[in-house]
């Protein structure tokens, strides 16, 4: 097989992986601070995708323009979920949190089914079928835009946590819950903000993914699983780890499909997960538990 085929597939895998990474970043941020695993993560992303479909159908807005408003809407949804629901479960056993979020996920799937029906839906932008040709390399334009947006959103989130007072306070909550309470931080509000930020990441990722994939109400659990695989591979709670995990999984799926069988793509992604769990349980960029 010509070398350019490998190159084409690898580039496509990396670009898709960057958007996967943005999706997983939300899960990682929420777990890193709130210590709650969001089992409704994929379902929240499908909600964002459907919001994008409605906005596109109504106002013909480009997903790149819709990105910020949808991220803001999902921020609101996440904030309300954490402040109104999940905060009450913070001190409860993990299985209670698990059941709560699985129930929320099932409700979300069924509400989407009632509103939008089971058919796959997508949007057709002016560049939906465009591709860039650089020598022998042909790159899907929608994937390039989506990956660039993923990088920008990730950088913005990183800067927020690094250079703002609220970001610093959130990191303080993540590092030392009791210490944060002692110095007078409103931890529950900061948790709600964090869940909102994680949800905003998912909103942005969903809007971008709609450029690449169709959406159905039933797609949520598969995205939740994918996000788990990525964050566990990259390191649960690590922001760069989520992005790296996304790229690694995207690239692995693409190359395994090319070199072996497309049917076996997921098998190789899960193979990487097993290897990470065996030899580096904290994830590639995760911190070893004390």
């Amino acid at each position: 097989m010509p070398a350019e085929v490998y190159l084409n597939v690898a580039v496509g895998g990396v670009l898709t992986g960057l958007v996967y990474g943005l999706m997983a970043l939300g899960l990682s941020v929420i777990f890193g601070v709130v210590r709650v695993v969001n089992f409704a993560h994929g379902e929240m992303m499908t909600i964002a995708m459907y919001i994008a479909i409605v906005l596109f159908a109504t106002f013909r807005l480009d997903p790149l323009i819709m990105l910020l408003p949808i991220a803001a809407l999902l921020f609101g949804l996440g904030y309300v979920m954490q402040a109104g629901l999940i905060n009450r479960f913070i001190t409860r056993p993990e299985h209670s949190q698990f059941l709560l979020l699985v129930a929320v996920a099932i409700i979300m799937i069924n509400v989407l089914l009632i509103i939008f029906g089971p058919d796959a839906q997508n949007i057709q932008t002016a560049y939906s079928y465009d591709s860039f040709q650089i020598g022998p390399l042909i790159v899907d334009a929608a994937k390039v835009y989506a990956a660039c947006a993923a990088l920008v959103v990730t950088a913005a989130l990183f800067a927020f946590f690094r250079y703002t007072h609220i970001g610093t306070a959130i990191r303080a909550c993540a590092d030392n819950y009791t210490g944060a309470l002692v110095v007078g931080l409103d931890v529950k509000r900061l948790y709600a903000l964090t869940f909102g930020l994680g949800s905003a990441c998912v909103g942005a990722a969903g809007t971008m993914l709609l450029l690449i994939f169709d959406v159905t109400p039933a797609a949520g659990p598969a995205y939740t699983l994918l996000a788990f695989v990525i964050v566990i591979t990259g390191g649960l709670g690590s922001m760069p780890g989520a992005l790296l995990g996304g790229v690694l999984i995207g690239l692995t799926e693409a190359m395994a499909g090319l070199m072996f069988s497309p049917s076996a793509k997921s098998m190789f992604a899960f193979g990487i997960l097993v290897l990470v769990l065996l030899f580096r349980p904290q994830g590639i960029m995760g911190k070893r538990a004390a």
């Binding site: 085929v5 895998g13 898709t16 089971p118 169709d214 159905t216 598969a222 793509k265």
Partner: protein, 414 residues
């Protein structure tokens, strides 16, 4: 002695009256029973993938269900009481829904579009002794199990392939250029795997002008099929041979456009490429693929009736395989009920076994089942997407257009 003998043979007035009364009761109630049975609708459980990744096709089959009642009434068939169930594109759910329908009183089952799901339903139907008429499912083993209650008015994978290769040769014979190489892309579900096995067995018998240089299987629920198209494109093959579903057919076409590859032909031997959703989603990019599928004979009177009913119920939707074979499965049920005059499952199954419907829509002599419960007289058509419509290009006797060949490159479409 002789007197006794005379008495024993003589019919007295009392005996005659009693006999007349008994005969009257028998004569009066027997036809009444039949009328009563046929006045009561036959409870038919219709299992379709109404959600999950086959939802689009399941709902298209439902359109065939929607237009059935009026046409059956016009044909003088007894009424059917339809009990709908969703298999959720899942084999295990299909099995449990079939069991539930039977426990709720379904007297006959119809469905379920997919071979895997139909296989599961067939096992339940046979176990419970309830007749099951398959609308669409091509995996050969379903009617090779010696089942007594399972019937299929749809060609097997081998029949589809044989008909497809014959129709392709007919099209190639009228063309100056033919593909020399092809890539075979197929879904890795029960249907796709059966078709893959069938191609290996059937293709050598037809001396096709092309050889398959690469076979690529993929998950029908896949979100991204870019790698599959990259791999296929790398072979430099002239044609794509497809066994797919609906969503993946749309994804594959998008990838062909994005990766700037227009093969000489797309030859599909399954669903997806001719579905209304495919045509509407892709617009001008949907033109060109040839599908070799169980279709309908546009010249049969019942086909025209079906087209009119569909146009009235679902304006703008083209009549297709999903509507036709779902309708015919319900026609088989109603016809059997009419002839059996009973809802007894065994009587219904016996009636289905002796079906001989010539006023139908599918190509071929009509609907009749062999000893295995398979309608083996069905014919395959070649159809092509053109301007959002479907035309029949093969076989010649059922064609209403000539094949446009080769495929217009995607980047040259106005």
């Amino acid at each position: 002695m002789s007197r006794k003998s005379q008495n024993s043979t003589r019919v007295s007035r009392r005996t005659f009256s009693a006999g007349l009364g008994a005969a009257g009761i028998v004569a009066g109630t027997a036809p009444f029973n039949i009328v009563r049975a046929q006045g009561t609708p036959l409870k038919v459980g219709v299992l379709l993938p109404r959600s999950g990744y086959q939802a689009g096709i399941g709902q298209d089959c439902q359109r065939g269900v929607d237009i059935t009642a009026g046409i059956l009434k016009d044909m003088g068939m007894p009424p059917l009481q339809l009990m709908n169930a969703d298999t959720e594109t899942n084999v295990e759910i299909a099995r449990s829904r079939a069991e539930k329908l039977i426990s709720e009183g379904a007297q006959l089952l119809v469905g379920a579009f997919d071979s895997g799901q139909s296989t599961a339903i067939a096992q339940v139907a046979e176990q419970k002794g309830i007749p099951y008429v398959i609308n669409i499912a091509a995996a050969p083993p379903i009617t090779e199990q010696g089942y007594k209650f399972v019937f299929r008015n749809f060609p097997t994978a081998g029949m589809i392939l044989g008909g497809a290769f014959a129709a392709q040769k007919e099209i190639f014979a009228a063309s100056s250029s033919v593909p020399k190489t092809a890539v075979f892309l197929h879904v890795n579900d029960t249907f796709g795997t059966a078709m893959k096995g069938g191609i290996g067995a059937v293709m050598p018998k037809f001396d096709m002008p092309y050889k398959i240089v690469e076979t690529i299987s993929y998950d029908p629920a896949a979100r991204d099929l870019s790698v599959e198209i990259s791999k296929a494109k790398a072979t430099g093959a002239d044609a794509l041979i497809m066994v797919s579903r609906l969503n993946d057919a749309i994804l594959l076409t998008r990838e062909l456009v994005k990766q700037r590859w227009s093969p000489m032909a797309i030859l599909s031997m399954g669903p997806g490429w001719y579905e209304d959703q495919y045509l509407k989603t892709l617009g001008k990019l949907s033109d060109g693929p040839l599908s070799f599928v169980p279709w309908y004979d546009p010249n049969k009177p019942l086909s025209k009736q079906l087209e009119a009913a569909l146009a009235k119920a679902h304006a703008g939707v083209n009549l297709n395989t999903n509507h036709v074979y779902t309708f015919e499965a319900l026609l088989v049920a109603a016809d059997a009920y009419k002839r059996a005059g009973s809802t007894d499952p065994k009587a219904l199954a016996d009636a289905i076994r002796t079906t001989n419907i010539t006023n139908n829509t599918s190509p071929g002599p009509g609907i009749l089942f062999d000893a295995k419960g398979q309608n083996s007289s069905l014919k395959i058509s070649g159809i092509q997407n053109r301007g959002g419509k479907l035309v029949t290009v093969a076989p010649k006797e059922a064609a209403n257009a000539k094949a446009e060949w080769p495929l217009t490159p995607y980047d040259k479409r106005a």
